[in-house]
């Protein structure tokens, strides 16, 4: 018998409402040991509520939360947060202002013998390289330093799961990338199972083994970053992870016709369709559709060009690294890389996983 190992965390139809608002609507997914999962969605989608539910500072209405096979909430059971051994890192870090960094880190080691607790604190301080900060109070620390103390505090009790609520959102842009890389490396080195909540699509794609996309209390899609970006199953996911040009299309036989050209049609679709074209899939091409430049914004390495295309109400957005030196009002022709075209039903609320047409 080769039994599958028990998931570290398992959510089954977890439901929680506040008044008439469904904050969590039948949320289900599993997390394996050592996995790092990114929970992503717009603000108000329920991702923070889900973290709070897992931590036990919020109760659920229906469903079940299971940690390593043990139900901690659901079926009439509720395990208090202090008995769950779940680490929580808060967006505002929630460092206790009346305790030093070292005392903060040791705060969760209450039940341990003093000697062991001290050793554990020193170990984690050494691992994070924060010995010079240990005797300072939170208000004497910079944002990045506070972040590391908060991480150390959450990791010190060796939690079964580490929950991180927007752990990098309070950091400056330059610092953010460095700290993000270091944090993930540390979690990998310790083999920590973690859930990272973020509202930033790029961060979600970059960080985790798995991405869980939420919207209005529901899980929309789950998958690896690659899969969810390249092959989104829903129009919502496609539009969430990158900017897209949504262009209405008409089916004629095996082909789809739209203002930007003709593409192979997916099989088995019915009803009105639209094609999603990412800005970087557009190129200048001598044979493409005619367009007129209506605006240019330099973004650094690349340039964002907005183009008016006959037959489209909305201008089309293109991103290109070719410094074309165009001015507003110039006429150009644009082509589309057919590999980067996604097709969805025009009605976006329908779950429209349309198989891609063969090129």
């Amino acid at each position: 018998m080769n039994e599958k190992p028990l998931p570290t965390l398992s959510l089954k139809s977890v439901t929680r409402s506040f008044g008439s608002v469904m904050a969590l609507n039948a949320v289900s997914f599993d997390i394996a040991k050592g996995e790092i999962v990114c929970l992503v969605g717009q603000s108000g989608c329920g991702k923070s509520t889900l973290l709070r539910v897992i931590a036990g500072v919020e109760e659920i209405d229906r469903g079940a939360v299971t940690l390593a096979g043990e139900t901690v909430n659901g079926e009439g059971i509720f395990v208090e947060p202090e008995h769950r051994n779940v680490g929580f890192m808060f967006q505002d870090y929630a460092l206790f202002p009346h305790l030093t960094a070292r005392q903060n880190i040791g705060f969760g080691l209450n039940g341990m013998r003093r000697k062991d607790a001290v050793a554990r604190v020193e170990d984690i301080i050494a691992r994070l390289g924060i010995a010079s900060l240990a005797d300072r109070y939170p208000h004497q620390l910079s944002g990045g330093e506070q972040q590391r103390i908060a991480l150390a505090r959450a990791l010190a009790p060796q939690p079964r799961v580490l929950l991180m609520d927007e752990p990098f959102s309070n950091l400056d842009r330059g610092l953010r990338d460095t700290i993000r890389r270091e944090t993930i490396a540390l979690l990998r080195a310790l083999g920590t199972t973690a859930i990272i909540v973020t509202h930033d699509p790029e961060e979600a794609l970059a960080l985790g083994d798995k991405v869980v996309l939420m919207h209005k209390g529901k899980v929309i899609e789950t998958g690896t970053g690659d899969a969810i970006y390249s092959f989104p199953q829903t129009a919502y996911a496609a539009a969430f992870f990158s900017q897209v040009n949504k262009i209405p299309a008409r089916r004629s036989g095996d082909w789809l016709d739209c203002a930007l050209g003709r593409f192979p049609a997916p099989c088995g679709s019915s009803g009105p369709l639209q094609v999603f074209i990412r800005p970087q899939a557009l190129t200048f091409s001598d044979t493409g559709a005619e367009a007129r430049v209506s605006g240019r914004v330099l973004l650094g390495e690349i340039e964002e060009v907005t183009l008016d295309v006959d037959g489209l109400d909305e201008p089309v957005v293109m991103r290109t690294s070719a410094r074309c030196g165009l001015d507003v009002g110039h006429s150009v022709r644009i082509g589309v890389d057919p590999k980067d075209v996604l097709v969805f039903a025009a009605d976006e609320s329908a779950r429209s996983a349309l198989p891609r047409g063969q090129v």
């Binding site: 931590a55 500072v57 109760e59 229906r62 079940a64 779940v86 929630a94 206790f96």
Partner: protein, 558 residues
């Protein structure tokens, strides 16, 4: 699915009563008891008493109370708002001192104010003598000021000692709200003078309402000053109906009339600040830049700002100091005064501890279990603050006396021992009254202190393996110590100053500083009274210092 449904059912009906919630509910019940008692007593006893009270006492007392409250409200509003605007909109030499000194009259209870001015302004007193000397008269028969023992005297005394409540709330409003709006209205062409009437005053209306409501509740609560000045208010009528005529149901009926006034005040206050939510949502606080004054205008401003302080604090305080020195030189410090001081401090300290514990329970229960039950408990527990001391005393006396009698009867029957008046005689009833009356101060202050602690701290402590009680000791208590200290100080001083409930509920032969002063002033003996009053005022300055410092740190943060 069905098993989940069953699970949900059990969870919904599971009520977790922590010790904190239990204490909070107990506090609410204790606070509700006196009010409920009054309502029951007044409605249950429909003998001939109602008609007597209605015909002979209520109309005159209600009229007097109405005139007193109206006059006091007008004076306190004008002085408080004017002073707040003066130190906010103008900068002149001495403004920094005025800013906090304008709070000083808070240290003087109304009865001490009346006591001092009765003597200072008496026809034979220093002021009238001085005026006569300047004008060349030789006897009070030739020239005298109108008698202070009158309605106008009472209105002036109440207005000038109670205006700081309006000053405090209005100034806070000006500091946090005014700057942006004032700047905007300047750019829209409103002149400096127009700003007060067109922007500041409408803006401050909710704050003024809060302040005035506090002023009027204090005025309604007063029993000493009105009696010294010979005004038969509702409060004074409750006191005489009970003490002189020993007519408890009659007193309870007048108390009902007072409760109606209180409810009207609360409704008025709520109504006046119904839109405050929109006002306070304005952007971050920034202080407006005051206009610099120099030369004569600066002196005028200083004089105007100093006037309420002189009338409301410097005058009576100077008088008390001089009288106290005279008394000590003449007779030293009497044992009666020392006993009264010890009594006052002991009872106030015990009451403060009780009030703090219950206040913390209320605030922490509301934080741990947010919901209708704990919120309701918090609201009910703070009822007592609005109830005048005499009313509260009657509401407590009736059930406590019944309890004492029943207990005594049972103990005699079963064990042959008499417990006497256990609660009344031990002073426990007094502590009960202080607790019911001042619980709002501590629960409000602690709630405000706790609300500054983000809930993520609670969650961090819980996920790090601490129970809610452990989190309380290790996180909430250390972090809310300033709020606790401030609340404790305010409660202690208020207990120490409290006169009406103390008069009615104290054990036999128990004198506090306030009742000692009251007794002497009522008898006209004026022996230890000045010294007792001075002690009360000096200790009463402590919370004023605290308030002034809080105002300052607010300003620094801006």
């Amino acid at each position: 699915m069905s098993s989940f449904a069953a699970g949900r059912l059990t969870r919904r009906h599971r009520i977790r009563i922590t010790p904190w919630a239990a204490l909070a509910f107990a506090a609410a019940a204790l606070a509700l008891l006196p009010v409920a008692t009054i309502a029951l007593t007044a409605t249950a006893n429909t003998g001939t008493l109602w008609t007597h009270v209605i015909a002979n006492v209520l109309p005159q007392a209600t009229w007097n109370t109405g005139v007193l409250l109206l006059g006091t409200g007008i004076i306190a509003t004008c002085v408080g708002t004017g002073a707040a605007w003066l130190v906010t909109a103008y900068d002149f030499k001495g403004r920094g001192i005025l800013e906090w000194a304008l709070l000083l009259p808070l240290a003087v209870p109304t009865y001490i104010m009346a006591y001092a001015y009765l003597d200072v302004l008496s026809p034979l007193g220093a002021i009238q003598g001085g005026i006569r000397w300047m004008l060349g008269y030789s006897s009070p028969r030739e020239f005298r000021l109108p008698d202070i023992r009158s309605m106008w005297g009472a209105v002036l005394i109440f207005g000038f000692v109670l205006y700081p409540y309006v000053y405090l709330t209005t100034r806070a409003m000006f500091m946090t709200q005014a700057a942006n709006l004032v700047e905007v209205s300047r750019t829209l062409g409103v002149g400096r003078a127009g700003i007060f009437w067109r922007v500041a005053l409408p803006l401050a209306r909710p704050a003024i309402a809060v302040g005035v409501a506090l002023v009027l509740m204090e005025a309604l609560n007063d029993v000493g000053a009105a009696q010294f000045l010979g005004i038969r208010t509702l409060t004074a009528s409750v006191y005489t109906t009970w003490i002189v005529r020993t007519d408890l149901p009659g007193a309870a009926q007048i108390a009902i009339a007072m409760l109606i006034v209180v409810i009207a005040l609360i409704v008025l206050e709520r109504w006046a600040r119904r839109n405050q939510r929109f006002a306070t949502s304005a952007q971050r606080a920034r202080q407006m830049v005051p206009q610099k004054l120099k030369g004569v205008p600066a002196l005028v401003a200083l004089g105007l700002g100093a006037l309420p302080i002189i009338i409301g604090f410097v005058g009576p305080a100077t008088y008390l100091v001089l009288e106290a020195i005279k008394r000590i030189e003449f007779a030293g410090v009497s044992p009666a005064l020392i006993r009264a001081t010890i009594n006052t401090v002991t009872v106030s300290a015990i009451a403060t501890v009780v009030v703090l514990v219950l206040g913390f329970a209320i605030a922490y229960a509301a934080r741990l279990h947010p919901g209708r039950a704990t919120n309701g408990a918090a609201r009910i527990a703070t009822l007592g603050y609005a109830v005048p001391g005499t009313v509260l005393a009657i509401g407590i006396l009736i059930p406590v006396a019944a309890f004492d009698r029943t207990l005594d009867g049972l103990m005699r029957e079963w064990f042959g021992v008499s417990t006497g008046l256990l609660i009344l005689g031990s002073g426990a009833a007094l502590i009960y009254a202080y607790t019911a009356r001042f619980l709002a101060i501590s629960s409000g202050g602690i709630e405000a202190g706790l609300s500054r602690i983000p809930t993520s701290y609670d969650h961090a402590a819980r996920t790090l393996g601490h129970s809610s009680t452990s989190a309380l000791w290790r996180v909430h208590l250390p972090l809310s110590r300033p709020a606790l200290t401030a609340a404790g100080l305010l409660v202690f001083v208020d207990c120490m100053k409290e006169l009406p409930a103390t008069l009615l509920l104290r054990p036999l032969n128990f004198e506090s500083l306030a009742t000692l002063l009251y007794g002497e002033a009522a008898r006209g003996t004026y022996e230890d009274a000045a010294l007792a009053a001075l002690i009360i005022v000096v200790i009463g300055i402590l919370p004023v210092v605290l308030l002034a410092r809080m105002g300052r740190t607010d300003a620094d943060r801006v």
